[in-house]
């Protein structure tokens, strides 16, 4: 929470929504605390960064809508897919560990995650 406060000046709403930004801070803090590792990240101002097609650039407004649209899209996921996603995001375990712990075959977990992401992406496209 303090980290969020201290880094607030670095927040750039053209890059991410506030919720996503807070998620990334919490995630990086967890990596730091649990594993004493850094999370390698791109430098958005790196001249070596291969630029995106300007036509694809999302506006800050579109970004702001993504959260709401994702929320709706998550609501359409079958329960087991949503569960696999949430477990992957917050238990600091690989999906392999989640598979072992829930007694599901690894392939099943992988395909649930893939299906969930496909579904989310297609829901986002339709909502455009």
């Amino acid at each position: 929470m303090l980290t969020v406060w201290r880094k607030a000046a670095e927040y750039d709403r053209s890059r991410a929504s506030a919720a996503a930004w807070i998620f990334t801070i919490a995630r990086n803090r967890r990596i730091d605390l649990l594993r004493h590792e850094r999370r390698p990240e791109i430098d958005p101002n790196d001249p070596e960064l291969r630029p995106a097609d300007p036509e694809d650039a999302e506006t800050a407004l579109q970004r702001a809508e993504i959260g709401a649209r994702l929320r709706d899209a998550i609501g359409t996921l079958p329960r087991e897919q949503e569960e696999a996603l949430a477990a992957t995001f917050f238990n600091d375990r690989s999906y392999g560990d989640y598979a072992a712990q829930s007694g599901l075959p690894l392939g099943t977990v992988k395909s649930r995650l893939r299906l969930a992401m496909e579904r989310l992406r297609s829901e986002l496209k339709e909502a455009h």
């Binding site: 406060w5 919720a19 996503a20 990086n28 590792e37 959260g67 994702l70 998550i74 995001f89």
Partner: protein, 218 residues
């Protein structure tokens, strides 16, 4: 400038987004993102997804004193990180421009780091990232040189930084499996293959999650 054609599989991007990927593997994914606007967009979407999921988590009850304690710490003086000034970093890659975050990792390599010969025409520069059995290294392969046929006990990631290599005698070789600049190859444990440098040779960042077994004499 051509865009990469080989991308990290969805589950690897997901592990990068959720933060469970170890540093050596995350470095390969993050540096691929620098080369690949498409995957950058995917990664940004996964961060947004993390934000939404975080938002829907049930709130954790906090002790009453927590807010006061946090507010009291707001004025703590933060240790200001000392900017790292580097007068001269060894140029291990002969002037090759590599994007961040890999560039920074290379710049922090000890000056005395040196190349070891793996096999004829192939040299490796070891990067101390992760713990054994994980091996993270820069591979420099002369034109047409090849690694001996080998079997992976665990996952291998290879990111091409210069030139190209092709994968042969492996599960992907039927598709041509040519990996140019910015391409990330993920080869799962149990796969058997060899890597052959293109006509201009290649420079790659490679992470082995587990030991490699050589199958045939050269």
């Amino acid at each position: 400038m051509t865009l990469p054609r080989h991308h990290p599989p969805e589950t690897l991007l997901l592990e990068y987004a959720t933060g469970v990927l170890r540093e050596a593997q995350a470095l390969a994914v993050a540096t691929h993102l620098a080369y690949c606007p498409d995957c950058r967009r995917q990664a940004a979407l996964l961060d947004e997804l993390g934000g939404v999921l975080l938002d829907t988590l049930p709130p954790e009850p906090l002790a009453q004193e927590t807010l006061a304690a946090v507010v009291a710490r707001l004025d703590d003086v933060l240790a200001v990180p000392v900017p790292v000034t580097r007068t001269m970093t060894a140029d291990f890659l002969g002037g090759l421009l590599v994007p961040e975050p890999l560039r920074g990792y290379l710049a922090r390599l000890p000056q005395q780091s040196s190349w070891t010969v793996l096999t004829s025409g192939v040299e490796a520069l070891h990067m101390a990232l992760g713990h054994a059995p994980v091996v993270a290294e820069i591979l420099k392969m002369a034109p047409g040189s090849a690694l001996p046929v080998h079997r992976h006990t665990d996952q291998e990631l290879i990111l091409t930084l210069q030139g190209a290599f092709s994968e042969e005698a492996g599960p992907h070789s039927a598709k041509g499996g040519c990996y140019g600049v910015g391409d990330l190859g993920e080869f799962e444990g149990g796969s058997t293959h060899t890597v052959v440098a293109g006509k201009d040779g290649c420079v790659c960042y490679r992470v082995l999650a587990g030991p490699v077994e050589r199958l045939a004499a050269e």
